[in-house]
């Protein structure tokens, strides 16, 4: 069947791109929460119980329509033991640790903050390249 979808295109062309982005972002955050619940093997009811909320509120969070506050995301992260705002620098420090293993005088699993700073500021490009090779995605 040859279908004409010009109406759909014209409706979307009239859309406010800021609002479109908001709708998408809400869904992606809800999907992230959904995935973490699965990873941690925690039910909605269980999360609600831990947080002192009704299960219906958790369902609202997962609906893709909810506009989360930062505090709510922080609280959920605390109870699920996840960091929604983890940045790549966390991986960077892990990788620096791995690279440091080859340097004499540096013990595995430990590094002094000034040594790390030295690595970052003095050998940054080199370290960055090494970091990208060694760090998981």
């Amino acid at each position: 069947m040859k279908r004409n979808n010009t109406l759909a295109k014209s409706i979307m062309a009239s859309a406010d791109p800021v609002k479109v982005k908001r709708t998408e972002t809400r869904m992606l955050v809800a999907q992230m929460l959904h995935d973490y619940l699965g990873l941690r093997d925690i039910s909605r009811q269980s999360l609600a119980g831990k947080m002192g909320k009704q299960p219906s509120e958790v369902s609202k969070w997962l609906s893709g329509d909810h506009n989360f506050t930062i505090d709510t995301l922080s609280d959920i992260g605390y109870y699920l033991d996840v960091d929604f705002f983890a940045r790549k620098e966390t991986s960077m420090f892990r990788c620096i640790e791995e690279i440091e293993l080859s340097r004499p005088g540096v013990r595995a699993g430990e590094f002094e903050s000034w040594r790390v700073s030295q690595y970052i500021f003095v050998g940054n490009d080199y370290m960055t390249n090494k970091k990208l090779e060694k760090c998981p995605a």
Partner: protein, 159 residues
Amino acid sequence: MSKIELVELEEFRRGAGRVYSVAVDGADFTLYDRFLEENEGDSNEELVEIMTKLNTMSGKTGFTDTFFKLNEGRPGDGLCAITDLKGKLRLYCIRFGNILLVLGGGGPKTTRTYQEDSKLLSENLLLQSVSDAMAEAIKEKDIKIEEDGSLTGDLVIEL
């Protein structure tokens, strides 16, 4: 006896699942196209929200069950609904896990239950018939749902 054709909506072929709709008795438009035409103008903002949800699901998340109003038909028929943020507009669909969605029609929700609204009731009942026909066709191996959510086989089936 009516015949329906399952038609892929290619604008939603974005990598995370497939979206189809239904053309009834040889029509050159689908139930989804009719839904857009019936509601464009007055409900453009609501349509954009629903279409954005479809874009996000088909492109990034898949058809996660929490994004739908579930159990809109009979138990086990997969009938559900997508609504806009305020719940003004309702689009009925059949959800096959996270990878395949078949869109029907819908309309504004102005009553407490869909059974009280003749338009929503007729759209819901039509899609229930489609769900029954698809279940039979899948059971008889006339239609197959592939791993990527695409439908193969004879996509013209009798209601």
